[in-house]
């Protein structure tokens, strides 16, 4: 038996509004991952707050994207935000992230497969669509970046949220789905086809 992982994918409202749901699902299906949960739902503010957990590391990570991009362009974060501390910046970005994820209905899904977390990260591409490579979902469907988003006081329109690692995946899957909403107990042809080639 191949060891599999589960990972959470949320098609955010920016992609829902643009009619990109099918295209994104197709990308994960064609690589051979197995869909094991799906729900179209409106996230509450409380869910958004829990989803973008306020741990120091998380806030740092949210802020660091902006700092990195500004450094490249010689923009001073202090002039824009009044701070250059990743955590302080992270708090602002988190607020925007919650605003975006609660703005309208999103499609939450769980995908399963060998190294599913890494495979999904690879397919999704960099969180800044401008930086994301061609062929990745973010690279193919958006030109947005942190500088534009920050100027417009909003989160980056980057189509997807995906779990970053195993710990995050477990936490997020439990947040968005109850145990009985996950249906992994079925035979999946794409997976079978890969094995038939042996």
């Amino acid at each position: 038996m191949v060891k599999t992982q589960k990972t959470l994918v949320i098609i955010k409202h920016d992609a829902v509004m643009r009619g990109l749901i099918g295209e994104v699902i197709h990308r994960f299906e064609r690589v051979g991952l197995k869909l094991i949960a799906m729900e179209f739902l409106a996230a509450t503010e409380d869910m958004g707050d829990k989803h973008y957990a306020s741990s120091k590391e998380n806030l740092k990570r949210f802020g660091q994207h902006t700092i990195d991009e500004y450094k490249q362009k010689n923009i001073d974060p202090i002039k824009k935000f009044g701070t250059n501390k990743p955590i302080e910046l992270g708090k602002i970005i988190k607020k925007w992230n919650v605003e975006l994820i609660t703005r309208g209905p999103v499609l939450a899904m769980v995908w399963e497969g060998p190294d599913a977390i890494e495979i999904v990260r690879k397919l999704a591409g960099d969180t800044s669509p401008k930086k994301a490579l061609a062929g990745t979902i973010r690279g193919d469907f958006s030109w947005d970046n942190y500088e534009i988003a920050n100027d417009e006081l909003r989160s980056v329109y980057n189509i997807l949220h995906i779990s970053g690692n195993e710990e995050e995946a477990e936490f997020e899957i439990n947040l968005w789905f109850s145990k009985d909403e996950i249906v992994s107990d079925y035979e999946h042809y794409a997976h079978k086809a890969m094995h038939k080639m042996r």
């Binding site: 409202h13 829902v16 509004m17 643009r18 009619g19 990109l20 749901i21 099918g22 295209e23 994104v24 699902i25 197709h26 990308r27 994960f28 299906e29 064609r30 051979g32 869909l35 094991i36 949960a37 799906m38 729900e39 179209f40 739902l41 409106a42 309208g104 209905p105 499609l107 899904m109 909403e181 249906v183 079925y186 035979e187 999946h188 042809y189 794409a190």
Partner: protein, 203 residues
Amino acid sequence: MNNRNDYPTIEKTFVMIKPDGVARSLVGKIFQRLEEQGLKLIAARMITAKEAQISIHYPGNNKKWLKGVGEKTIRNYNNNKSVIEDFGNDNPLEIGKIVYKNMSKYLCKGPIIISVWEGNHAVERVRKLAGATVPTFSEVGTIRDSYAFDTPQLAIRSRRIVFKNLIHISDSVDEAQREISIWFKDKYKPLNKYERVDYIDIL
């Protein structure tokens, strides 16, 4: 302009991707086709259906309906001898019951995706997009023609009796309303308070 969702021609329709569609990784392609028609997704869930739910969705306890199903099956055979061989009789009602039971089993065999789509003349347009119930009879370019190839003969030969035709769609506006109320109730109400930004200006 007032709320676009209030236009009389803006309809909701119910689409179910059956277990073969999910297992064959066709969810994305089918959703894509519906989105490209300008239809807006307003509800979706992945579930494993229970036989009790199927018997509300299809009128599995209605004799007239079951008899109709039996008659259609007999017509597909074109040959009464094999009907009796396969079913042990040629009574439409009895055959209808067997076919229904098989269909119910097929729909509960694996997870399905249930969804609701909203848009201008959604019911009729999704019917067109899906194509005829029997995949090989459906027009080129329809979902069923593009991704399925089942026929009554093939189904009969593999003792399935029901067609693997990937999706169920609503037949009429009234049916759509009935089906949506079966599959999406309580906390799972459709969410249509948003606009498709790629279609907003043409409405």
